[in-house]
């Protein structure tokens, strides 16, 4: 958006003058002038046009041959005919050609009714066929992946899916095989197409050749309604359209928003809807009575909760999970800090940065919008693997590198997909650096030094860029050196003068889906709404300890599962057990909520109403698309009800009114309303939001912490990472279940060799604090020799079981006593599939 606009020119299409920007494609210019030119292969999201389908041929005065309007840039004074006899004949011809081999099985085709081929055949075709010869045949439909079926007879070979795989996702798995009329779409050796973004090809397909395994035959277009909302399963917060049939979500489609997702979705967001209608979801408030939970009315449950929380006399803490809306987070902190008279409200697993540093990082002059990444000349990704933590950002970065030639630099503990070798014809990743687990602050401080001296190539790529974007993961500032890392990030921003760059700046990837919104709504241990100062409270770990020691007596777990996701799971179990009163809200039952005294059913993002804040500061509205199941209801309403019962009448009767309260309290969101946020969101940095309070971070005291000791002989440093599929979403959605990973320990080839283990070997990983877990070995050639990596949040053997360990030893697991001999599936096979 920030690119300079080109001069406006005028062209004539079918005798009508159309004003447009110079150099845009004729098809797009015509569309802006309300002239539709049919296309199949053209999709600007996929990059440069290929001109393959030939559907968009038009006549241009002065050019003897008909031209494809998708690939012809407009020039001033161009005179174009899209409907004369010559063009009509060509359009008829192309439709006829496309139907030579198309089965015309529309009555039984999933695409029927929303099919571009149908629409274009009706609109631009002859309406009758001259073809009497047999059509080509393929075995059909066959699985292209566990999630997609392919019907090659219906395929019109428009190239879109293949281009997506090769030029957008860059997984390079889809190929055109064979040649000429025998061409078909497939993968090497018929391997399943498994890639995190592959669901997009279903939506790209202009015919019924690629269909969603989960949606096939579930509905016809006249049975369904679209409902626009925002996906809150990760910080990407992609804009989605829910396909609703009979009050249930049966499909998720992208809702193009260039500023957020470019129209793409990851498979988690696309297929993660089956859990909405899961029978395992509690659908009513519950209260504990006589040791067991029983269903209760909302009034009874809230009454019960109010009583339990009041009895703690201020010794109450609340932890807000990443799926909460801004409204919920605001109300929770207001309840805790107000009627409950506590200071202990926090979001996320880690201690918060000092308020001033947090405000400095949120400085609007350092902020970049997501679409500005397109314009960056250099992108530094530090301490995050976007593929796993914010998938759509990965595509955005790849786009900047592939199409705009941005220099990509990566610095992480674990190798990422972004630096996994570059494809032919793209510049790829310029340089990737690895630092030891937990050493992000050291790396950043060194980098600041390098940038000052300007000697290394790595630093030069940054200093030489007119616009540099530093994408950093929240984990960088999470550890004991978090403050130093934050200071180094700010120093780096100052050295690079990011504040003075048009499209350069800092871009944080929060650990939680609405991490930024929760923080900015005030659910943070040291800041209130709008990052204003608040009296200091406890971090999650301190809350845990205080519960165990009895300093805290009651706990609110808001859509969060510390036993599964936070460090020290056993201590968390004890702490929650020690709590006198626990109020929990969650979508599914979980380990942390087992002993809850009051449990509230949490909403999915298809039911919720509220706002969330994108990592770039864009507020977006989550809109209710389907009714709440059973007796479940809006959580914001539960919180206003609870607040009232505690003596603080908020006066808000709608989610919008709760947002108005937040807006009044938060200088960041000043002036924003549900209307101004609208359907595509609004960035607070662009709508008059401002930071109040000191922003000088100041150099943290203490200097660098002592370097981690070299691991003892035979020991390895332990790194952990978040895996996209290691959470409840892949477990609760049958379609995605096959992606849910078992614990694997990633080792370098040399390490595996020296340990005498190979891919799939089951091992015991033992930390230097004597804790251990079981895992399968995965040998990865880009892992450094002295490190191993474990996955956080797996169903069993999650990495947090080892929390506190900095090094580990690995030994082959003794064979477990086999209950039943199984034949034919070795562990190796299990792991690879």
């Amino acid at each position: 958006m920030s690119r300079k606009r080109k001069p406006q020119i005028t062209i004539t299409v079918d005798g009508v003058e159309i004003g447009c920007e110079e150099g845009v494609m004729l098809h797009d210019a015509a569309k802006d002038g309300d002239v539709e030119i049919p296309v199949f292969c053209y999709e600007p999201k996929l990059g440069d046009p290929v001109g393959a389908c030939r559907m968009c041929l038009v006549e241009i005065e002065g050019i003897p041959k008909l031209q494809t309007s998708c690939s012809t840039p407009v020039r001033d004074g161009m005179v174009v005919y899209t409907q004369n006899d010559r063009v009509k004949e060509a359009q008829n011809a192309v439709v006829e050609f496309l139907l030579v081999n198309h089965p015309l099985d529309c009555p039984v085709c999933d695409k029927g009714g929303e099919c571009p081929l149908q629409d274009i055949s009706m609109g631009w075709g002859e309406g009758k066929s001259r073809v009497t010869d047999p059509k080509r045949h393929f075995q059909k439909p066959i699985p292209l992946s566990p999630l997609i079926k392919i019907d090659r007879e219906r395929c019109i070979l428009c190239y879109r899916c293949v281009r997506f795989s090769q030029e957008v996702a860059e997984d390079e798995q889809l190929q055109l095989l064979e040649r000429g009329p025998k061409t078909f779409v497939g993968t090497y050796n018929d391997r399943p197409y498994v890639a995190p973004f592959h669901g997009n090809i279903i939506e790209l397909c202009p015919v019924g050749a690629l269909t969603s395994q989960a949606y096939r035959f579930r509905a016809r277009p006249w049975d369904i309604e679209d409902a626009g909302s925002v996906c809150t399963l990760c910080p990407s917060q992609c804009n989605v359209k829910f396909t609703v049939r009979d009050e249930g979500v049966v499909r998720v489609l992208g809702r193009d928003n260039e500023e957020v997702d470019d129209g793409w979705l990851c498979d988690k967001g696309r297929f993660g809807y089956q859990m909405f209608s899961s029978g395992d979801r509690p659908t009513s408030p519950q209260i504990r009575e006589g040791g067991a939970l029983r269903e209760a009315s909302w009034d009874e449950a809230l009454e019960h909760a109010a009583r339990g929380l009041t009895e703690a006399h201020g010794k109450v803490a609340a932890i807000v999970g990443g799926g909460a809306s801004n409204e919920e987070a605001y109300l929770l902190q207001r309840i805790v800090r107000g009627p409950l008279a506590s200071t202990d409200v926090t979001g996320g697993a880690h201690a918060a940065l000092p308020a001033a540093a947090r405000r400095a990082l949120a400085d609007p002059s350092l902020a970049v919008s997501t679409s500005q990444i397109d314009d960056a000349n250099a992108i530094l990704v530090v301490g995050t693997d976007p593929m796993h933590e914010m998938p759509i950002l990965e595509l955005r970065i790849r786009k900047a590198v592939r199409r705009r030639g941005a220099d990509l630099l990566v610095a992480t503990e674990r190798p990422t997909a972004l630096d996994g070798g570059s494809a032919v014809g793209t510049s790829g990743c310029l340089e990737a650096k690895r630092y030891a687990p937990g050493a992000a602050a050291d790396f950043l401080e060194e980098l600041v030094g390098e940038v000052r001296e300007g000697e290394s190539e790595f630093a030069k790529a940054l200093t030489g860029a007119d616009d540099a974007v530093v994408v950093w993961g929240e984990s960088v500032t999470a550890g004991p050196d978090g403050e130093r890392a934050a200071a180094a990030l700010l120093a780096l921003a100052a050295e690079l003068d990011l504040a003075g760059q048009e499209s350069g700046g800092l871009y944080e990837v929060p650990a939680d889906a609405n991490g930024r919104g929760i923080r900015e709504a005030g659910a943070s241990q040291n800041t209130g709404p709008g990052l204003t100062d608040a009296s200091a409270g406890r971090s999650a770990a301190e809350i845990r300890d205080a519960l165990e020691s009895g300093e805290l007596e009651a706990l609110i777990l808001w859509d969060v599962d510390p036993v599964r996701d936070f460090d020290e799971p056993e201590a968390w179990s004890r702490a929650i057990g020690a709590s006198n009163f626990t109020l929990s809200a969650s979508m599914f039952g979980n380990a942390s909520g087992q002993n809850a005294d009051v449990h509230l059913p949490a909403e999915t993002h298809a039911e919720k109403e509220g706002t969330v804040t994108h990592p770039d500061g864009r507020l977006q509205r989550v809109r209710p698309s389907i009714p709440h199941p059973g007796n479940a209801g809006p959580l914001w309403q539960a919180l206003t009800g609870l607040s009232a019962k505690l003596g603080d009448e908020t006066g808000a009767g709608t989610a919008q009114e709760v947002f108005e309260l937040l807006e009044q309290d938060s200088p960041l969101y000043s002036g924003m309303t549900y209307d101004t946020i609208g359907g595509t969101g609004q960035r607070w940095q662009e709508s008059g939001g401002a930071i109040e309070g000191a922003i000088e971070g100041g150099a943290p005291e203490g200097g660098p912490s002592p370097a981690a000791p070299e691991p003892a002989a035979g020991a390895l440093r332990l790194g952990t990472y978040h895996d996209l599929w290691a959470d409840y979403v892949s477990e609760r959605n049958p379609a995605l279940e096959f992606l849910s990973p078992d614990q694997t320990v990633e080792l370098s080839e040399a390490t595996a060799k020296s340990l005498g283990v190979g891919n799939g070997t089951e091992v015991i990983v033992t930390g230097d604090n004597d804790r251990s877990l079981r895992a399968h070995v995965a040998v990865r050639h880009r892992i450094p020799d002295d490190v191993c990596f474990l996955i956080e949040g797996t169903r069993e053997n999650a990495a947090n079981l080892l929390s506190g360990a900095s090094t580990v030893t690995i030994a082959e697991a003794p064979p477990e006593p086999e209950e039943e001999q199984t034949f034919g599936t070795s562990e190796r096979e299990k792991v690879e599939w």
């Binding site: 290929v50 004949e89 011809a93 010869d133 055109l176 014809g425």
Partner: protein, 437 residues
């Protein structure tokens, strides 16, 4: 009229293949002269003035094309298109096989003129032995300092790599050639941008046919005026013509452009085997087919175009009276059906549909109405495709259906009488004798 041998001079001398033999017969004199005396600008204008037109099929002015390359500091490329795959065309094979150094000399000179320091010869995979000959010659030239950095002690650099294709006709299309050379699936690219602006690896690229480049040393040695003294005003120089099909002496003949086509077929190639010439492709199998009426036309780019066909790659395929035109049309269509890359709709589906219809024609399962559909499908292909492969089938097929429609109708009727075949079996179709491979 005898041949006029320029490229074919000494062609049958076995020593010509070696560097020493080539030099002894005046080889590399042009390159040496370029090093001593000529500026690139001067070379370019000479190449344009001489009127040399591309010998690969399109017939575009070589000098003009070279002039399209932007000047300035950037990596530019030269690709010699040796993917000679057009049915009936086999001139480049003989030229490279017997006279490889002339090609290398031409590439070096063109490379200097157009400032393309990296050059490739993209040779079709089936020409394995010719590729070996080129490899040897290139190694010899490097050894002698005629290629590589500092040619003949100057500051000029032309690196040359011989790259073997994988045997796809489409890779002779210049942009598909580039994709294939880059290691991708050999599919044509959208034009513009033209290769001269954005070609191999995104750099400006000059792509020329083997024969075109082999003319370059002669232009340099003798000057544009001398070159123009051969041929006609619009078709200068000589042309190596591959004559094949139903002729008594098939082979390559180098003639001055403008000689009557009849002389090529009857005098040089010995005339038809059975009876008279019934039909002939003047420029490879993608040229619209001409009949006996056009035999006296001068063999030039312009006369062939005026007759509704084209000189193309200069390959004459002759059909005598023994040949069935519908079978020849089917054979032609099948070739393009097999070689279509499948990227664009009209070519992919059009070749496929045409073959199915022509098969019905020769099986006797078609009606004269199908001939109308065949003709209309060809019209729908021509000019609507991404590259010219679709046109390459549609033009000859359309010309045959139009000119010999009566024979198509007779064939349908006869086939139906001879074998009222059940619809579910496909009778074998005899390959007609004498149609170029």
């Amino acid at each position: 009229m005898p041949e006029t041998r320029m490229l074919f001079r000494h062609i049958d001398d076995p020593e010509l293949r070696t560097l020493e033999g080539y030099k002894r017969r005046g080889g590399y004199a042009a390159l040496e002269e370029v090093m001593r005396l000529r500026e690139p600008e001067e070379l370019l204008s000479e190449l344009e003035q001489c009127g040399l037109r591309g010998r690969g099929g399109a017939g575009f002015s070589m000098g003009k094309k070279a002039g399209f390359l932007p000047r300035g500091e950037m990596q530019k490329y030269l690709c010699c298109n040796a993917d000679e795959s057009e049915p009936g065309t086999f001139k480049d094979r003989e030229l490279m096989w017997k006279n490889p150094h002339q090609l290398i000399e031409g590439i070096a000179i063109a490379g200097i003129a157009a400032d393309t320091t990296k050059a490739f010869i993209f040779i079709r995979g089936e020409y394995a032995e010719v590729g070996d000959v080129l490899d040897e010659a290139v190694a010899e030239a490097y050894e002698a300092g005629l290629l590589g950095e500092g040619i003949l002690g100057s500051k000029e650099t032309v690196d040359l790599v011989v790259h073997r294709g994988a045997g796809a006709y489409i890779c002779g299309e210049e942009t598909a050639l580039l994709d294939s050379l880059e290691g991708k699936r050999g599919n044509p690219r959208l034009k513009p941008p033209f290769p001269a602006i954005q070609g191999l690896y995104g750099g400006p690229t000059l792509i020329n046919n083997v024969e075109t480049l082999m003319n370059v040393p002669h232009v340099v040695n003798n000057g544009a005026d001398w070159f123009k003294s051969f041929g006609t005003e619009q078709s200068t120089g000589t042309k190596v013509v591959s004559v094949s099909g139903c002729v008594k002496r098939p082979g390559n003949y180098e003639v001055e452009l403008g000689i009557p086509s009849r002389e090529l077929i009857y005098d040089l190639a010995g005339g038809p085997i059975q009876g008279e010439v019934k039909a002939w492709y003047p420029g490879g199998s993608s040229a619209p087919v001409l009949g006996p009426e056009e035999l006296d036309l001068p063999y030039t780019f312009e006369d062939m175009a005026d007759a509704g066909s084209m000189l193309g790659s200069g390959a004459i395929i002759v059909a005598d009276e023994s040949v069935s035109i519908p079978h020849m049309a089917l054979r032609t269509a099948r070739f393009y059906h097999h070689e279509s890359c499948g990227k664009c709709t009209p070519c992919r589906e059009g070749t496929n549909w045409t073959v199915k219809m022509l098969e019905r024609v020769v099986r006797g399962e078609a009606t004269p109405m199908d001939l109308d559909i065949i003709a209309s499908v060809q019209e729908n292909i021509i000019g609507h495709c991404l590259c010219v492969l679709g046109d390459a089938m549609a033009m000859p097929v359309a010309s045959m259906v139009k000119r010999w429609r009566g024979e198509f109708e007779e064939t349908i009727a006869k086939a139906r009488e001879a074998a009222p075949a059940p619809l579910d079996t496909e009778p074998a179709i005899a390959t007609p004798i004498g149609v170029g491979a």
